[in-house]
Symmetry: C2
Subunit: 620 residues, 2 copies
Amino acid sequence: MTDETGGPVRPRRSRLRPLAPDRVRILDGFWAELQDRNRRAILPHIDHWLERAGWLGNFAADPGDRRGREFSDSEIYKYLEALAWELGRDPDPVLAERYDAIVARVAAAQQPDGYLNTWFGRPGQGARWSDLAWGHELYCLGHLIQAAVARARTGHPDDLLVRVACRAADLVCATFGADGLATVDGHPVIEPALVELYRVTGEPRYLEQARLFLERRGRHVLPEIEWGREYYQDDLPIREATVFRGHAVRAVYLAAGALDLADETGDGELLDAVTGQWRRTVARRVYLTGGIGSRHQDEAIGEDFVLPPDRAYSETCASVGSVMVAWRLLLAHGDPVAADLIERTLYNVVATSPAADGRAFFYANTLHHRAPGPPPDPDRPHPRPTAPVRAPWFDVSCCPTNVARTVAGLSGYVATSDDDGIQLHQYVTGTIDGRLTVTTRYPADGEIRVRVDQDSDEPWTLSLRVPAWAGDGATLTVGGHTWEAEPGYVSERRRWQRGDEALLCLPMMPRFTHPDPRVDAVRGCVAVERGPLVYALESVDLPDGMGVDEVRIDAETPPRLVDGRVVVRGRRISIADRESPYAAEPPSVVADDLGEIPLVAYHAWANRGPSSMRVWLPTD
Amino acid sequence: MTDETGGPVRPRRSRLRPLAPDRVRILDGFWAELQDRNRRAILPHIDHWLERAGWLGNFAADPGDRRGREFSDSEIYKYLEALAWELGRDPDPVLAERYDAIVARVAAAQQPDGYLNTWFGRPGQGARWSDLAWGHELYCLGHLIQAAVARARTGHPDDLLVRVACRAADLVCATFGADGLATVDGHPVIEPALVELYRVTGEPRYLEQARLFLERRGRHVLPEIEWGREYYQDDLPIREATVFRGHAVRAVYLAAGALDLADETGDGELLDAVTGQWRRTVARRVYLTGGIGSRHQDEAIGEDFVLPPDRAYSETCASVGSVMVAWRLLLAHGDPVAADLIERTLYNVVATSPAADGRAFFYANTLHHRAPGPPPDPDRPHPRPTAPVRAPWFDVSCCPTNVARTVAGLSGYVATSDDDGIQLHQYVTGTIDGRLTVTTRYPADGEIRVRVDQDSDEPWTLSLRVPAWAGDGATLTVGGHTWEAEPGYVSERRRWQRGDEALLCLPMMPRFTHPDPRVDAVRGCVAVERGPLVYALESVDLPDGMGVDEVRIDAETPPRLVDGRVVVRGRRISIADRESPYAAEPPSVVADDLGEIPLVAYHAWANRGPSSMRVWLPTD
């Protein structure tokens, strides 16, 4: 074992270095509350459903009694990853015991040669590796490995789960190596997992196997399907693609693996290729919330600028993967666009998925919901991941465990270091690397106070991210001097002494945001944001019986903050039906002033009963 | 046999009476060309594919060799219906021989008790009536009956196909009668078919069976499914619904049956209910083209005002069914809105589906196609009915045969009579009821000349439809007097003499059409229409390499006609990518004048190679 720390990813050559998970503590505020909700409610809720649905039981069950879909093993592994990060934050003995018990159940199901899967390989089941396009065998093992990596990086490099993962990885290398089965899994994730396991163990075969998988894909090694091979990124070699495409979760997991490989092999061409794909994707295929995926049918990203709010699939898992990619690019390039996207995505998709009570989840994260509809049964798994409701569990329940592992590992995304100092990317009250204490109410307000906790003989640089939206009016104050801070990173290099303070002030007035005119679906609309938060109009804040689609916004009057709520001025329109919605003249519109209408932070919508909601608001 | 004539529908109590098919001849112009293309190309193309795909062969094949989907029998029946109408127009002996040969193959497959289906009931197949929700058994029989009705109404009341249909209908009555299986088929069409067969034969059991099916549906007699029981209109009894909903084709076929039942039983309550549902549907759920269905996933109509052009499913078959419904309502009420919708739908969906050469078809009729893409293989059935391309055949190939039967029977929709005279609803060069000759180039121009061919001792009323879009400037000239004609029906009652003429002039300047502001998806856009035709911008008419999404229209300059083409003024915009499509200010837009850009009639798009296309054009 060569590396026992490193957070969610531990690159070798990157410009910035991640801090080990135990070097960052989130102590209060938005993310602390979410981490607390994760431990207190989300993790027990997941545990309950994994048992109830029988997916945990599958590891000991007769093959004929196996329950759930072919990929259900992966939910156990993502849950274990969440527990690993959580135990790294706080080694609670009850939680540790539960973790060990589940790992023991998993380990007991591993075959002597390392094979581990409850859907294939036993009497009455399909043969091992017999359905790589759809069987998710390597996908499940990828998540197993990610869980093991999390465990190794939180102080348990010799954990049983790490040994189980290595045995499974050894079998994968023996089976799919240069002389083995020359194909790939329909769903990527084994790729970043194997590079990460290499980083943890130093075993070069894992890196080589990741390279083989990445180079094979895109050469039509998987079957042609109705949606085209771009669905699983088998249409084009990753070096030749120009944009993320196809199934959104598959696309971002694959990109994460390619970035890990590029880092470990010093492959600048591959890094440049994926960086370029990502830039075009962010410029053309990402929702305001940071979500990706506008196609329900194949859970796919969709075409440039095709970002209809009411069809936003914006799967929670795709955003988890998008954060994985952006984090790797932030490390590789120090690019503030990547840090901005991580912030946008965490606040507006990852934090949106779980309900306020932690017991229901959005799978898809729509930006426009027209008809309130009844709430889902809280005691039944939901068959439709596409429905715009938070449900307790899904038949395809990838999102709750993905939220749990991401939230448990959030401290990994806060700060980095390089030879010259420390960079703060996300703002949370907490401690950084034993050297800094951050105090802030962000995003409730824009004051971020960074106190230095150690004397230093040498000068070093403190860098603070100024988000792109803070282009006008951000300031940094150090030692009584204040200066304007442009978007990007504002840096101060000095011989910092204990008790020194830097105060970053970000302008937190609510603001209108305009879309690119090439986005057909939101023409004539504005959105409202404040700091990193996207806001939404929710019908529970409107007069009785009124729906959000009846509102027109006064775009000449900027939104403002009133008693802590973001409000906009608007009117209620009413239009009498004509024989047809189409005519030589638009219909006459009766408009009544609504005064100031309160909005809700998008992540908090749908927590007050059924409602209609919209993010993009038509203007008068 | 009590009725040997009556066109596509023959109501008992309606305000207007249809003319028998042989009483209207379409002799020249748009619809004559399409009928000619139907006979010359579409029907042989269908015949070729029905043999090649093996769906015709199924009637004699071993059960184990059966090919195609569970509903493929229905394509043979719709083809037979098309042949029946076509033989009614012109009893070509070669075509008649082919018709008889196919009927003989069908008849030979009928069981002694009347059962007829190639998917169920034989050794190795599912039992009869074992999967009513999805098996389409009664659906297939419904189309068999419709074909038989067409044959009876075109002078062959004792045709073998009529006898086959009656035996099948007798079995249906015996099986699903008041004391039989108390359920319905998942896909309506048996309902209007049984009423129509009653009209042809006078057999009251058929009417009663239609009534039982219509009254049973909506009471949760079919299983709950992912999309909800509204998918097959089993969510609400038809008398309680307020709008068409669920699977579009199912919805309109069912409504047609309800209107037939209401007519035959004098059930004003049922007539009012369906009329109200239709009015709300037309006011809120219909595309500019007349198409319905905005949801690909369940081929469903979708919610009020949710009419995204790029997601327009607008299935060809749904428009065929919509015409069936509107025609029944036109007969029942004399409502010009229904006649307008028939015209809009025939010109802009039914005529859009077949390619110019009659050898490929749109299944879905999108209103916005962003990426040209390659044309489909002309020699292979297409797996994806949802793709925005014309394909030679589909695995689910309901649309080509539906186009064929509708086009072959078009003369049935042109005119009606009542005790007071004749009503012209659609304008074609041709002869009407031996009493009128119509000469027109419509829709190429707006002059419609109606010449009277018989002397009359008694006064009678000639009524001509003035479409809603012709609200400003339509005139009628009779006997040297000209007066303005308001939308609706303009009537002239006189003692008409042979050689008298009425000249209707409809204003045919191209015009902008504005959408209801509640249609989110086309905010800030206009469409262009001329007469009954919707126009589209197609990239083959733009400078090389330019896509339709780069165009912005000058909405201050009305479209005009230049050398026979409709043109608009527009600019080409270009926008440099920013890091994100969202910002406090919209991006700067560089715009270059494009001068006048030619548009294409929507029905004719995609006939000049791959292109992008849009109907709704963003304005500057």
